[in-house]
Symmetry: C2
C-alpha cells in the first residue's frame, strides 16, 4: 500500500477520542474538526455515543463506512487489539500516537513487533509508534495532540522523526513565517514507514517544493540514499541530524529507540548527495524561507548595499567566508550612483546608502536607485540590502520611509528583478523591524535577523544550484 | 585630558543645531532634550536665536558658561574653524559627527590632520571624526543623529567604530533586550581617542560590567593589548571584528579609513588575552545577555530538561560540540523524578518533561520538579530547559501554564539557584513565545531563539570563568 492514499485520506477515525478536553485524543479530534478536515471523522470511544457533535463508535469495526486512516491514542498495551480491529475493517493505514514501545526498551519493543506483524499481514501501513504522525494542509488534516491554532498552506514539507517537535515546530512556523507548510510526516519509532519512503512520497508530491528533515537515525541507509538521490535534483532537501555525539546518541536511543550511526558517514553521504545539512532548527527555517521565497541565482556574485558602513564591511566579510564573491559593479552602474551622491562622496561597492539618503529628496528614492542599479548590473547574481526600519519617532528625519512607499518600491524591485535573489537585514527599533519584516516577506523579500544569516542563505542557494546542475 | 570628564560632561554644545527637524544637528539636539540630558545644552547656529526653546549662540565662543563637550555636525571643511573656537573657549572634548575626512581619502585626511593639530595643542580630545560619538545612559547623554525613542540604563557598554551602527544597534538593543546600556563610545576615524583608551575608561567605569566592541581596525595594537589585558580579568570583552577578508578590508578602508590588519594575528591575540570573539552582532547580543543576566558557573556540567525528545537530543549534541559535559544526575535525583513518572517511563538524563507533564496534575509542577531537582544536584553546574510556551488555544490541554504560574515558579527557581546559570529555549506559537520571553527575561532567565545559541551562551560563560581564574 503506497502511503499516498494514507497521506491524503478521505476518512479518519480517532481511537481514544474523549470528552475530557485535556486528553490527547480529544485534542486530536478537536484539531481535525477545527481545521476543517475535508473528509469524514469518526470518534472511537466505547463509553460515548457522541463527541464534539460527531457520532462516536465503540470500536473501529463498528464504523459503517470505509476508513482510510486510524489515529490511535490509547496506551501501548491496548494498541495490538485496536490494530486487529483495523485489519477486520480493512483500513489503509494507522498512526500510532502512543509511546511505550521500542522507545522504552525490550518490553515495549515486543508490543511494537506484534503490531507490525498484525498490520503487515493485512497490508496496513503504520506511522510511528510514538509520533503525532501526519499533517496535510490542503486536506486540512492533522493528527497532532498539540492544539493547532491555524494552518497556512504552502509548499514546504517536513519529515520529522519526533512528534511533539513537529507539533510545536509547526506552531512556530505557522505563526512566525510567511511561507506555508504542505505536509508533515512524523516518523517516531519508524516500525514501518521510514525516512526513505516519506522522502519518495514528498519527492513526487506536486504540492511540495522544499523538503525539511529532522532525523535521529536513518533506518535503511541504502534505501534512504537511493530515495535522496532521486529527489534532490528536483527539490532541495534540508536536513537536521541529531545524535551526532555520544551524549546525543544516547538521548536519541531513550527517545525514539534510534541507533544514530556514525556522524562522519552521514556527513559524507550528505555532501556527496547534495543534501543541505544544518545544525539547528533555526538554520533550517532560514534556508526554507530562502528556497520558498526566492529564485535560484545564476552564480555567486553578490551586490551589497547598506545604510551603515559596518553593514557593508560585515556583509563583504561574510560573502567571502561563505564562498561567494563580492560583485564588481560596472563603471556604468557606479556612474549612475555617483550622479546622485554629494560631491564629497565617491561611488564604490559595497554601496553606502547613507550619503545617498542624505543627498536625495527621499530615503526611498535612494534605496530604489541603489537596488535597481545593482540588480540591473550584469555582474550581479544576487543582492543583500541592509536597511534602517524607521521607528514612528523618525518621521521627521532623512531616514523616514512610510509603509506605503516601502510596499510600492520593493514590490516593483521584486517584480522587475524576479530572477535575482534579494535578501535583507533590518536595523532599528524592534516594532519597526517587525512591521517591515511582515511587509517585505509578504512581497517575497526575506528578512534575516543578521547579515551573516542572510548571506548564508544566499550561499546555500548558490551551492544548491551548482549541485542541481551537476546532478542533471 | 582623561576622557572620563568628556564622557560625563556637565554641559554640551551642538554646532549645526538647526530648526529644520530633518537635519542631523536638529536630531542630535532633540535627542539631548527628549532623553533629558542632566546638564546644560547650548545650540550653536549663527542664524537662530532660539531652537527647541533653548537660547542659541552664533558660535561656541559666544556661550557664556563653561562647555565640557562640543558636538560638531557641520561639513568637514568648516570643522577646523569650529575647533579653533573650541580652543578659545577651552572646551574639554569634541565629537566630530561629520564624515569626509580620512574616510574619503587624501584631501579629507589633510583636514583631519589639521583638526588634530589644533585640538592637540590645546589638550582638547577628539571623538571621531565620522562618528555619532557618545552615549551615557545615566547622564541621559546621546550625540547620535539616529532619533532615539528611549533608553534603559544598564551595565552593558559598547565601543563601536562606526556611528550609525551604534545608533541603529542601540535602538535594537533598547527595544528588544531586557538588559540596559551604560555607555556607547563611537570611535569613527579615531584621529585621537581610540579603542585602547575607550577600553581603559570602561574598564574603570563602575557602571560597566560587560564590554562589547565592534572593531574594523585597531589603531595602536600594543596599547590595545595592554588595555585589554588589564580589563579582561575583571569584565568580559566581547568583540566583533570586521574587515576579516580582503573584500571586507577594502570596504572598511572606504568606510572609516581603517587598516584592518591580519585576521590571523587578531584571532591569536583574542585567544591569548581571553577576549570573546563573535562573528555577528546577533551573537554579540546573545552573549551580552548571558553575561549580564546570569551568574558565572563553577564548571561545565550541564543539566538538560526538554518538553520534546528532539530538544533533549539536540541539546546534548550541542553541549558536547561546544566543549561542555552533559551532567550525570545523581541516583537520588533520578529517584525523585522516577517517583512522579508514569509506570511505563524510566527516569533518565536528559530529563524528558513530557511524561512528567502527562502524569502530574499540572504542567508547571512538572517543570518545577524537574528544574529544582536538576539544579539541586551537586553534579550540575548549569542548565538548559526547553519548554512549550502555550498559546491561549492550549488552555484545556495538559501543556497549559498560566502567566501567573510561570512567574511564581520561575522567580522562585531563579532565587533558590541564584549561583547556577539557567537558560531556556521556547517552542510554540510566536505570540506565546514572545510573551514568555518577556516574562522569563524580566526575572533574569534568558531565552534563546535556538537550543544551540543557548548552549553556546553557557559555553562562553564557562570558558570566560576559566580564563578569569587563569588571569587572576
Amino acid at each position: 500500500m503506497s502511503i499516498k492514499q494514507i497521506m491524503e485520506p478521505r476518512s479518519v477515525a480517532v481511537v481514544g477520542a474523549s470528552r475530557n478536553p485535556a486528553k490527547l485524543g480529544a485534542i486530536i479530534l478537536r484539531n481535525l474538526v477545527n481545521l476543517g478536515f475535508k473528509g469524514c471523522i469518526y470518534p472511537v470511544n466505547p463509553n460515548a455515543s457522541e463527541i464534539m457533535g460527531l457520532k462516536a463508535y465503540p470500536s473501529v469495526k463498528d464504523i459503517p463506512d470505509e476508513v482510510d486512516l486510524v489515529v490511535i491514542a490509547v496506551p501501548a498495551p491496548q494498541v495490538p487489539d485496536v490494530v486487529r480491529d483495523c485489519v477486520e475493517k480493512m483500513v489503509k493505514g494507522v498512526v500510532v500516537i502512543s509511546s511505550g514501545f521500542k522507545d522504552i526498551g525490550e518490553k515495549g519493543a515486543a508490543i511494537e513487533e506484534e503490531i507490525v506483524e498484525i498490520a503487515g499481514k493485512a497490508g496496513i501501513r503504520i506511522f510511528g509508534p510514538n509520533t503525532t504522525g501526519l499533517l496535510n494542509a490542503s486536506k486540512r488534516l492533522a493528527t497532532t495532540f498539540v492544539p493547532l491554532s491555524g494552518l497556512r498552506s504552502g509548499d514546504v514539507s517536513i519529515i520529522a522523526q519526533t512528534g511533539l517537535f513537529a507539533g510545536a515546530m509547526l506552531e512556530w512556523l505557522v505563526t512566525s513565517q510567511k511561507f506555508g507548510v504542505s505536509k508533515v510526516i512524523g516518523l517516531g519509532n519508524k516500525c514501518d514507514v521510514d525516512d526513505a519512503e516519506a522522502l519518495e512520497y514528498l519527492g513526487d508530491d506536486p504540492e511540495t517544493r522544499v523538503i525539511l528533515m529532522y532525523v535521529e537515525g536513518v533506518r535503511d541507509g541504502r534505501r534512504f540514499i537511493e530515495a535522496a538521490r532521486r529527489v534532490v535534483g528536483r527539490k532541495p532537501i534540508i536536513i537536521l541530524k541529531s545524535g551526532r555525539t555520544e551524549a546525543g546518541s544516547k538521548a536519541a536511543l531513550t527517545h525514539t529507540g534510534s541507533l544514530t550511526g556514525s556522524s562522519q558517514i552521514f556527513n559524507a553521504v550528505c555532501r556527496q548527495l547534495g543534501l543541505i545539512q544544518v545544525l539547528s532548527f533555526e538554520e533550517m527555517v532560514d534556508l526554507a524561507k530562502a528556497f520558498t521565497l526566492l529564485p535560484l541565482p545564476r552564480g555567486g556574485r553578490v551586490a551589497i548595499a547598506s545604510i551603515t558602513g559596518a553593514g557593508s564591511v560585515l556583509a563583504a566579510d561574510s560573502c567571502v567566508e561563505h564562498g561567494l564573491t563580492v560583485a564588481q559593479l560596472s563603471s556604468r552602474s557606479l556612474e549612475v550612483i555617483q550622479s546622485k551622491l554629494p560631491p564629497w562622496s565617491k561611488a564604490s561597492h559595497p554601496i553606502d546608502l547613507e550619503p545617498l539618503v542624505e543627498n536625495m529628496p527621499k530615503a526611498i528614492e535612494a534605496y530604489k536607485l541603489a537596488l535597481n542599479t545593482a540588480l540591473n548590473d550584469e555582474n550581479v547574481d544576487s543582492m543583500i540590502a541592509v536597511l534602517l526600519a524607521p521607528h514612528e519617532y523618525w518621521r521627521e528625519s532623512k531616514f523616514w520611509v512610510s509603509d506605503e512607499e516601502l510596499v510600492e518600491v520593493f514590490t516593483e524591485i521584486r517584480r522587475i528583478h524576479s530572477e535575482k535573489p534579494l535578501v535583507t537585514h533590518l536595523m532599528g527599533a524592534k516594532p519597526a523591524v517587525n512591521r517591515w519584516t511582515e511587509i517585505l516577506e509578504e512581497i517575497k523579500i526575506p528578512v534575516y535577523p543578521s547579515i551573516e544569516r542572510g548571506v548564508k542563505a544566499l550561499a546555500t542557494l548558490v551551492n544548491y544550484t551548482k549541485t542541481r546542475i551537476y546532478l542533471q
